[in-house]
């Protein structure tokens, strides 16, 4: 097993896109952890971007505000603390919705019959509602705030996992090694845990990893529409929401307020890219069926 681990790390290091993905992820993690050092909080709630000026017009980057100022708030502070928000939203929503999906999917797949039928029809109902629309309606219903956004994203984020794991379990259940394990006297519970799940979990892990990135985009979209975090909350989507009024630039100067979009936008793109690359790398390395 130890040689196996070594081999995995070696393979990771040989793959440039995996190295890039992990480097980006480490970079974001360092920023998220070091946020209080990089940008010391100035009020009791560190997630609220401090107001530096009452002038609502965006101000270009300066030594004091390296990413510029929008809506009177420091963009740099927002981008740095927004990393924490991105991790929080991405990890909590993905983890929770994946666990819900795993439970529903594996129960449906393993026991089959009418239970499968009921659970899958419920899944279909949830799937039939457009994701963003459902999230908007639920958030509007629950009230504003990041936690409410997360709840609505979880509520409508588990179906793909449930479907995926159910399909995989149906397939693996028929494999001869499952029969062979039963012929050895392994009980049903252990058969699921040891022989079925390890053979079905990889696609789920990869899917979840990639979803962390895209969830941040969805959350940002909700913030952009003004449904997510409260005004002034350090969140990339909220920063873009501020920039909305200045998107067209000034007359004759289309890119006058570029910094309002570019900095939070780049942070978001790199964050999503990092998770996607890591997801790809994980698939290549950990799925033993792809190992040559």
């Amino acid at each position: 097993m130890r040689t196996e681990t070594k081999r995995m790390i070696k393979r990771l290091l040989r793959n440039p896109s995996a190295v890039l993905g992990f480097s980006l992820l480490i970079f974001f993690t360092v920023i998220a952890i070091g946020a209080p050092l990089i940008c010391p909080p100035q009020s009791y709630d560190p997630y609220m971007i401090p107001i530096v000026t009452w002038d609502k017009t965006p101000q270009p980057p300066s030594t004091e505000h390296p990413f510029g100022v929008i809506d009177g708030r420091d963009i740099f502070y927002g981008v740095i603390w927004g990393t924490r928000t991105a991790f929080k939203v991405g990890l909590i929503v993905t983890l929770t919705s994946t666990i819900i999906g795993l439970l529903i999917g594996s129960v449906a797949g393993y026991f089959g019959g009418w239970l499968d039928e009921i659970l899958m029809r419920i899944t279909d109902v949830f799937l039939s509602i457009p994701y963003i629309l459902a999230a908007i309606v639920v958030t509007a219903f629950l009230g504003m705030g990041l936690n409410k956004v997360m709840i609505s994203l979880i509520m409508f984020g588990w179906m793909a996992t449930a479907r995926l794991i159910r399909g995989n379990i149906l397939q693996v259940r028929e494999e001869q090694y499952v029969l062979a394990a039963r012929a050895l006297g392994v009980n049903d519970y252990l058969v699921i845990l040891k022989h079925v799940l390890p053979n079905t979990i990889f696609p789920v892990v990869i899917q979840a990893t990639m979803r962390i990135g895209s969830l941040v985009i969805t959350a940002a979209a909700l913030s952009f529409l003004g449904l997510g975090a409260p005004v002034g909350y350090a969140d990339w989507g909220s920063l873009l929401n501020f920039a909305r009024n200045w998107l067209l630039g000034a007359s004759g100067e289309a890119f006058k307020y570029w910094y309002a979009i570019v900095y939070p936008g780049v942070a978001m793109v790199l964050f999503v890219l990092a998770w996607n690359l890591v997801g790809d790398a994980l698939r290549d390395v950990f799925d033993p069926r792809l190992r040559g």
């Binding site: 097993m1 001869q176 090694y177 029969l179 394990a181 012929a183 050895l184 006297g185 053979n199 069926r289």
Partner: protein
């Protein structure tokens, strides 16, 4: 008279599918004796594998044993609880499968899988179990077992994987080993090696083997007793010598005719006319009558019983004497 360690009587296993009831096994009788090999032979789909899955009770949810008894060690396996059955699986009765490619779990090493089997039924810790696994791998003829034990199934060749399967099945020294087409997926040379290995281990452990195959050659070389199955039913049951020298059921007779022979000039190989009937639409009466050259009106309406016609020779046919006449005629023609 020796006591059999496993006796199967009138076993019937049906599958309740959406299209109807499939009578996969519909009347099978045989005894297995210690240290002996029982061969179960028949065409694909005749119920050989389902018979073995029934003995271990690992049928899928649609399949059910509806009648008959499977007595092992004076216990009827069809009557005991799932819990007690689980203690017998792997420990007293182990099984190896046709496709070593797919019968090993791809995400665990060979060693991890053998250790799992050992720890399940024996009170040993993992380190001891791992040592036992290495010894087992050495015993089944895998070179460098210390290295192989940490390899994944995909890193081994087909023959090696089947050896690993055998090691796993033997880990608890079972009294009966069920081998379901153990050599079908392997090269001819590897086949002979695997069969030789099984024979050698059988002598060493004194276990009984139930050998399931469609290969008459494998049966002739390895079995002591043979059950011939057709359409879910045992049609003939006797010792291997008698079966090959003096087959009494028209189906067995046909099967033996279909084997190419070196000692006779043949322009065209004999084959039994027709195909195996669809299990959802079995013919009435004797299941073999549409393909049988000796069939009469009676065969279409009545089903023959499995009867002892000579000492220790059971045949399911009304007109087995006709086969005798045909054999005599054939012998006459040759002279």
């Amino acid at each position: 008279m020796k006591e059999p360690i496993l006796s199967v009587r009138n076993l019937r296993t049906y599958f309740y599918t959406e299209d109807g009831i499939v009578k996969a096994v519909d009347g099978v009788d045989f005894d297995v004796f210690q240290g002996e090999t029982l061969g179960i032979v028949g065409e694909s789909g005749c119920g050989k594998s389902v018979t073995s899955l029934s003995i271990l009770r690992i049928l899928d949810e649609k399949g059910r044993i509806v009648e008959g008894s499977i007595v092992f060690d004076n216990v009827d396996l069809t009557k005991i609880s799932e819990e007690s059955m689980r203690k017998i699986r792997g420990k007293d009765i182990a099984m190896i499968f046709q496709e070593p490619m797919v019968a090993l779990n791809p995400v665990f090493t060979i060693g991890e899988q053998i250790v799992e089997a050992i720890v399940l039924h024996q009170k040993v810790d993992e380190t001891t179990a791992k040592k036992m696994a290495v010894d087992l791998l050495r015993k089944v003829g895998i070179p460098e077992p210390e290295k192989r034990v940490d390899e994944y199934p995909h890193e081994l060749s087909g023959g090696m994987r089947q050896r690993a399967m055998i090691a796993m099945a033997l880990s608890c020294k079972p009294k009966i080993l069920i081998a379901d087409e153990p050599t079908t997926a392997l090269d001819v040379t590897i086949q002979a090696q695997i069969m030789e290995l099984m024979k050698q281990l059988q002598r060493e452990y004194g276990m009984a083997i139930i050998l399931i195959t469609h290969d008459m050659g494998v049966i002739a070389e390895n079995a002591d007793r043979v059950v011939v199955m057709y359409a879910g039913k045992a049609v003939e049951y006797t010792d291997v010598k008698t079966l090959f020298n003096d087959p009494k059921h028209p189906y067995t007779w046909g099967l033996l005719h279909a084997i190419p022979r070196l000692d006779i000039e043949q322009t065209r190989l004999y084959n039994i006319p027709g195909i195996v009937p669809n299990p959802l639409k079995f013919p009435t009466g004797c299941k073999f009558h549409p393909r049988c050259e000796f069939a009469e009106e009676k065969c279409k309406s009545e089903e023959p019983e499995l009867k002892e016609v000579v000492n220790g020779h059971l045949v399911r046919c009304f007109f087995w004497e006709k086969v005798e006449q045909a054999k005599k005629k054939e012998a006459g023609d040759k002279q």
